[in-house]
């Protein structure tokens, strides 16, 4: 029997999930009047999902650390803004060209990655983040410097994407596409090579994997995802400035991947949703409760909670949310016969 191409995946529930995703805004609209705000938050989550899925391929699957993914997002956003508004390319073309340009930047930063590893790579990418941020300000003729840049609305094959309602459908179409593509990459020869590199570089090299090629490839792919997210970010938020692409955002992306579970695509999605919803909905609620007793600066408290979440997950639950889900699933599958020690 030849095994089918998709046999290893449980695809039955994916169409259901897609339908749920696209029906969700209608549900939200009938449920609450402030649905536009929730859609806005979900849109941010959708854009970040595209990026973190790419980051997961780089960090979770290839084991290369990146503390500069906000820079890739920034390059994507600014490139697309310049290409569409100043060069005059159509948005659809920018959707194809910009990720490739950002991927090439990933290629450039992947080049030192051939010689360095671990925390050196983290530092290099962090430095790359600082450099990119400064260079964007330096090229102020095109980017508007530190004052920021207004970006036009997206027109997708004649349809103008006007508000958060339209944005939602566009972003989540691409987000679902990104998840599916990432899943296929991870299950392919490429993905297996990435995982081999992550587990042991020497062993991977001994088995005939070209380290240089696959590491660069991983950076390229991750950069492309980030570039894609950048395009969507620029054209749905209509205003970009360098303040947004901070080092803290890069760390936040890593937190998303970590909280979700390193080395699983669905984990990255879960983690992103978790963090973005925390950031915009639960922490403000909690903060209101706290502010009756003590005076708090909004930003500091939020960052504090994220740091705490991250530390707790690293120490107590290194597999993340997806790992928790997997454990739970196994627990219920063999329910009355659980070995006692394994699930603590």
């Amino acid at each position: 029997m030849i095994k089918g191409r998709f046999d290893d995946e449980n695809l039955k529930w994916i169409p259901v999930l897609i339908i749920v995703v696209f029906l969700f805004p209608f549900l939200l609209k009938s449920a609450t009047f402030s649905y536009k705000y929730y859609l806005y938050i979900l849109n941010i989550a959708g854009i970040y999902i595209i990026l973190t899925v790419g980051l997961d391929i780089l960090s979770g699957f290839t084991g290369l650390m990146s503390l500069g993914h906000a820079a890739f997002l920034a390059i994507g956003a600014y490139t697309s803004a310049i290409l569409v508004d100043q060069v005059g390319l159509p948005f659809e073309l920018s959707l194809i060209i910009t990720p490739i340009i950002v991927g090439l930047f990933g290629f450039v930063i992947g080049f030192p990655a051939l010689r360095i590893e671990g925390m050196y790579l983290g530092l290099t990418t962090m430095g790359f983040g600082f450099i990119v941020k400064r260079l964007i300000i330096a090229f102020r003729e095109w980017t508007g410097g530190s004052g920021g840049l207004h970006v036009s609305k997206a027109t997708f094959f004649g349809i103008t994407i006007n508000n958060d309602w339209d944005n939602y459908f566009m972003i989540y179409t691409f987000a679902i596409l990104a998840i599916i593509i990432a899943r296929r990459i991870v299950k392919s020869k490429l993905g297996r090579a990435f995982m081999a590199i992550r587990d042991s570089e020497q062993a991977a090299q001994a088995s005939g994997i070209n380290l240089a090629k696959y590491k660069m490839m991983s950076f390229f792919i991750s950069g492309m995802f980030a570039g894609f997210a950048g395009v969507l970010f620029a054209h749905t938020s209509h205003f970009i400035s360098t303040d947004h692409f901070d080092i803290l955002l890069s760390i936040l992306f890593i937190v998303m991947v970590l909280v979700g579970g390193v080395g699983s695509i669905y984990g990255a999605v879960l983690g992103t949703l978790f963090i973005v919803l925390m950031e915009n909905m639960f922490i403000p609620l909690f903060e209101d409760g706290m502010s009756q007793f003590v005076h708090l600066e909004a930003g500091d408290f939020q960052v504090f909670i994220f740091g705490l979440i991250m530390l707790i997950f690293i120490i107590f639950q290194p597999l993340g949310l997806y790992g928790m889900w997997l454990k739970m699933r196994i627990y219920w599958k063999i329910f009355p016969f659980n070995p006692r020690k394994r699930f603590n």
């Binding site: 960090s59 084991g63 650390m65 080049f111 030192p112 010689r115 360095i116 671990g118 925390m119 050196y120 983290g122 530092l123 290099t124 962090m126 430095g127 790359f128 600082f130 450099i131 400064r134 300000i137 330096a138 042991s200 020497q202 062993a203 803290l248 760390i251 890593i254 937190v255 970590l258 390193v262 708090l296 600066e297 500091d300 408290f301 960052v303 504090f304 994220f306 740091g307 705490l308 991250m310 530390l311 690293i314 120490i315 290194p318």
Partner: protein
């Protein structure tokens, strides 16, 4: 021409003082890295906490004594050092113990999260208002042949030299220092030889906290304002450590001083003479970092590691 020259020398001395701060921070994570192979991204935050704690003690003691004098600063420094010891023990309990056998990636992320927590906690407790730190030396300067040197810079350089001397002596001559060296070489073998590895780890963290706090105390008067952005200097010390060779104490010192000079000079004289340097002078350390990693990843003093499979 002589104007340019004396300007360069003056900035170089100021740069050496800044470089000594970098070197002290770099020394902090070199210590931890040498013994535990953990890279501590929170060293800059430890420094910042130290500066805040010292400020707190100085204001408290000034209130008690009723005026500023030299003893106030000494007492504050003493109390800050005691705080640093406790702080180091706590950090060891939080970061080092639970994550002993985890992969590098998660330990780095743990120290980053610690950095975030420390920074936001400091901002929450001390409040968003920037504080104005007091210098024990005021604005006094020394003039040597047309070159003006601030006493504070001199004090920084001298105390950095003293601290580094102590650490060099400690690492090479004392029992505990040699135990630390052995632990960094191979922790299992060290344990078999009867070295209390856990205590060594705790000691390393305590030392790193002391170095961090002292560098914070030294740096604070150099800054016009005391706020949480001070911790970003800790990130800038990484290029210094890497330039010198990560894990080497003389490397940390030399790398720190070189970077300090490069940064100060490029911000001062050079930016008056070359227009384009203005655009890049706050990222120049990162450019140096990437260049070093591309050309010679082991740094000036580092030795290429042979990896066992």
């Amino acid at each position: 021409m002589s104007d340019l020259f004396s300007g360069l020398i003056q900035e170089s001395i100021s740069g050496i003082a800044l470089g000594c701060i970098y070197a002290l921070i770099a020394l902090g994570f070199t210590l931890i890295y040498k013994a535990t192979e953990v890279v501590n991204f929170a060293q800059g935050e430890i420094m910042m906490v130290g500066a805040y704690i010292n400020f707190f003690f100085v204001t408290q003691f000034t209130g008690m004594v009723g005026g500023l004098n030299g003893w106030v600063f000494l007492a504050a420094l003493f109390c800050s050092t005691i705080f640093a010891v406790l702080f180091g023990i706590v950090l060891d309990l939080i970061i080092s113990r639970p994550l002993k056998d985890e992969p590098v990636f998660s330990i780095i992320m743990a120290t980053i999260s610690l950095a975030i927590i420390l920074r936001s906690l400091t901002a929450m407790i001390a409040g968003p208002i920037s504080l104005v730190p007091v210098s024990p030396f005021g604005d006094s300067t020394i003039k040597v042949g047309g070159i003006v040197i601030s006493v504070l810079d001199l004090a920084i350089i001298i105390s950095a030299i003293i601290l580094m001397g102590i650490f060099f002596f400690f690492f090479n001559k004392t029992r505990w220092g040699i135990a630390m060296k052995a632990t960094s070489e191979d922790s299992e073998a060290a344990q078999l030889m009867g070295i209390p590895v856990k205590n060594v780890y705790r000691m390393v963290w305590v030392f790193a906290a002391i170095v961090g706090v002292v560098s914070g105390v030294l740096l604070a008067p150099r800054m016009a304002l005391l706020d949480t952005t001070m911790s970003y200097l800790g990130l800038k010390a990484f290029p210094a450590a890497i330039l010198g060779g990560f894990g080497s104490i003389p490397g940390a010192v030399v790398g720190g001083i070189i970077l300090g000079i490069i940064e100060t000079v490029s911000m001062g004289t050079l930016s008056f003479h070359f227009e384009w340097i203005k655009e890049i002078n706050d990222i120049i350390v990162w450019i140096v970092l990437i260049a070093v990693l591309m050309i010679r990843p082991d740094g000036l003093f580092g030795i290429a590691k042979v990896k066992r499979v």
